[in-house]
């Protein structure tokens, strides 16, 4: 389906990208593709009700990929003048002559290219026009609500609100030509609670593509304060094997760690613990993992990916069965697969496989029921470290949270680690919550693992 006529911002980027492709062809490129972005951001941070920092900026950039006889070159810059673009074109072509020949280097072409109108996503003029006074008021309200929620909250790491507008366009000599745009607004609050000399911090935030969908700043402040104060008095737990529950934000982190395991390039290189298991059961029936660039109201919803391939919804794990991996054009060609429209891109780098709206579908148990089903265990609310190693299949992260005793959240825990083998963890998911919210592009409801190693005292 053809794209709608572009807005002014997109039209300008499409023009820059088209000119750069033309210059690259003149400089001797076989195939050429330009990806351009422009953005505007403005934010305010407050402390004790006063402005702490105001920042505002616009920026832009363009990257050029050229391929000649299977050899790849890439250059980028921020100078959109004719001379600036010409320098980028010449650099990219010169570099392509130094790279190794790889027959899989080819720009996407034909039917996969396009614009999926279901992925157009939100662009909210109310955010484009947002008054700085609104952001100041929102940030103040979040800070005030956090302080009001509990007398032990007196200090803040940071509280703020911001907006962000972005345009992107991709044009190639193989027929890609498309643009997308997005608006974002966010409020965030990171209070520090203090009692008996112990400091505990937490943060809560909301980011949306439309102003109307944004959580009330007051609610953000209260939630942040609760998350910090309930950690006061935290201590170590004993080393033991117990059920572990991840709250939605931590569950999203776990799901995000799986993204690399379904990266088609890593799978092709036998560098994923899931690589050999396509078509097999890797998780319980209740577990469905989706990457959906067309999700209504999604933060990462987009009509096309970073190399012009039309957006789609990909079911990665369907009721526990591993179904599909994620591909960009290069990895797809190598693996004789089809691009899933998963090329992630910024103007300063080559496309690479990434997720869009990547989420675990909601389950049937309320979060309260999930906790109630645990006699002794850990409810995790914050984590430290990288966690999942998809090459080796090992998982180990630092964790903070609340100890569960007889189905109740009993006392705060810090300085422990949670460890397991990723495949055993997936197979051992024994409850999935109803509380899925798309607060970030990677999202999940509460999940429970039947048994993991908690290491502490």
């Amino acid at each position: 389906m053809p794209a709608p006529p572009p807005d002014a911002g997109s039209a300008q980027l499409l023009d820059v990208a088209a000119r750069l492709v033309e210059l690259a062809r003149k400089a001797g490129a076989g195939e050429a593709e330009a990806y351009a972005e422009s953005s505007r951001e403005a934010s305010v941070r407050v402390r004790d009700g006063e402005v702490e920092e105001l920042s505002q900026a616009t920026s832009k950039g363009v990257g050029l990929r050229v391929i000649g006889k299977g050899r790849l070159g890439f250059a980028y810059g921020t100078d959109f003048s004719r001379d600036g673009l010409r320098r980028i074109a010449e650099s990219a072509v010169a570099l392509s002559r130094l790279s190794a020949k790889d027959e899989n280097n080819a720009l996407p072409r034909g039917a996969v290219l396009g614009f999926n109108p279901e992925g157009t996503g939100d662009y909210d003029p109310a955010i484009e026009q947002l008054d700085p006074a609104w952001k100041l008021a929102a940030a103040r309200e979040a800070e005030r609500a956090a302080k009001g929620a509990d007398p032990r909250v007196r200090k803040f790491d940071s509280t703020g609100a911001g907006d962000y507008l972005a345009h992107a366009a991709v044009v190639s000599s193989r027929g890609a030509a498309g643009a997308s745009r997005a608006t974002y607004v966010s409020v965030d609050c990171s209070p520090v609670a203090e009692e008996n000399g112990q400091l505990q911090t937490s943060s809560w935030s909301d980011t949306r593509r439309t102003l109307a969908a944004l959580e009330q700043p007051e609610q953000i402040g209260r939630t942040a304060a609760l998350r910090a104060t309930r950690m006061l008095g935290a201590r170590k737990a004993k080393t033991q094997r117990v059920p572990v529950v991840l709250d939605p934000r931590m569950a999203a982190g776990f799901i995000g760690g799986l993204a690399a395991a379904v990266n088609g390039n890593l799978v092709y290189k036998k560098s994923s613990f899931l690589g050999a298991l396509k078509g097999e059961r890797v998780a319980p029936e209740t577990f469905t993992l989706v990457d959906d660039a067309t999700l209504p109201r999604g933060l990462a919803t987009r009509p096309l990916d970073g190399e012009g391939v039309a957006s789609r919804r990909t079911v990665v794990i369907e009721r526990g069965i591993l179904r599909e991996f994620l591909y960009d054009a290069w990895a797809a060609r190598k693996a004789s697969a089809r691009s899933t429209g998963s090329a992630q891109r910024g103007w300063g780098s080559l496309p690479a496989i990434g997720t869009s709206n990547f989420f675990l579908e909601r389950g049937t148990a309320t979060p309260e029921e999930i906790v109630r089903g645990v006699k002794q265990g850990l409810y995790v609310t914050a984590m430290l470290g990288r966690g999942a190693d998809v090459v080796t299949g090992d998982y180990s992260r630092g964790a903070n949270g609340i100890w569960i005793e007889n189905g109740e959240l009993a006392w705060p825990v810090q300085e422990v680690t949670v460890s397991g083998s990723l495949l055993e963890m997936l197979r051992g998911v024994d409850a999935i919550g109803t509380d899925l919210e798309h607060r970030s592009s990677t999202a999940a409801p509460t999940i429970r693992f039947a048994e993991l190693t908690v290491s502490g005292s």
């Binding site: 992107a168 997005a182 974002y184 036998k270 891109r345 810090q414 290491s455 005292s457």
Partner: protein, 508 residues
Amino acid sequence: MPATPRTRTSRRRIASPAARAPASRSRGSANGVAGRPSAAPAPARLLPLPLVEKLLGAASARGAEFAEVYVERSTTTAVSLDEGKIRSAQVGSVTGVGIRAIRGAQVGYAYSDDLDEAALLRTAQTAALIADGTREVSPQAVSRRPLPQHYAVKTPLAEVDVARKIALVSRADVAARGYDRRIRQVMGGYADQTREILVANTLGHFAEDRQDLCRLGIQCVAFGKDERRTGFYGGGGRVDFRFFDDFSPEQVGREAARQAVATLGAVPAPAGPQTVVLAPGWSGILLHEAVGHGLEADFIRKGTSLFAGKLGEKVASELVTVIDDGTVANARGSLNVDDEGNPGERKVLIEKGVLKGYLYDHLSAQLTGQRSTGSGRRQSFRHAPLPRMTNTYLAQGDATPDEIVGGVRKGLYCRQFGGGQVDISNGNFVFEISEAYLIEDGEITKPVRGAMLIGVGPEALKNVSQVGCDASHDPGLGTCGKDGQSVPVGVGLPTVRIDGMTVGGTGS
């Protein structure tokens, strides 16, 4: 690109939707690369001084007490290799200006990648909005600050032929594959950056610096029976390209391969508290996470660090002396001048266990009546500076590494390390152990896998019971993240024994 050991605080500034748009904000900026496409003569000043002075005037026109203009040109080259082939070679150049105005504790920040005078004046006026008075707009005169030279690099890395950079990665790949037939995947990357900065402020200071930085890194995957293990090694710094004549790519490839093969057949790491011995070098990440971030003066000023208000108190074993040193020759974290125009310094943070000082940028110093320690750093012109570490290391002790290991009846020997992270409020930190072995009766025995250390900064440092005589800096790999800004850092540690450290793992 191979895995990068990264360190970061758990602070987040703005919720990142991780969608394409926000992710691109930091692209093409300062993170570890460089390379002007063609050799150029010595560059003209990044921005004419009269214009800089005019911008300072405009930024303080509404009554700001302090204004600063930061100009940066960053040229980068990056080469990546995968499956035995050079996957790509790329170059880019980004120039921009960041303008800051401060009134009291309030900061206005704006930046532009458009360098014409009208656009820059608009940027200065935007930053000026933080103050609301009026003042006559007049240029603010500046004079040059003399600087030391800790990293004289003769030929800017940007001007070194890309073909030579490609050759480095290919040589490392061949060496890694040749090390052992079980090495099946090798990913390699070389990146360099030539970053020129000009910073001027209404205190009348003006400084210019060229900061070259490079890094070669190789990641290997060894395939065993039903298991895969990884290894990572590399290095670089603020060095001439000749550095790689001695620090050979073959050595890098072989070491990455060695790590991957050595851990094949590893048993799960034992979980729970135990004695650990850290091998020297990159293990310095312990200091970076356990104390370094918590001593950064923005956290101290806001009272959000557990080290706030503890100057003069005992916060570590008396064997522990921690130094942050921006003057180490050619090191990755060294600075002739920080991103606010102050010279890099050597600071003793903890001396024999007693807390001696914090790391200050201009703003934190100003607000607390201290002086800047040359610790104001930023990822690029798109970011306002923050207090940051440079090269953070532990002064050496007098135990030999053999004595240290020999004295442990049962414990864990940690030889290679991944990244780490800290929560600066409760002091919880973690760091990953990528290559570890059991110590049994004073001998290093079986390899273990999946280990991670967790602790609370001051407690872990109080449990340091032996410090080796083999002080060593990391080979030049580290990148530290804070508030979404990445900057290159160095760390160092001699062999160290810590008792009662909690090890995360799945074994018993």
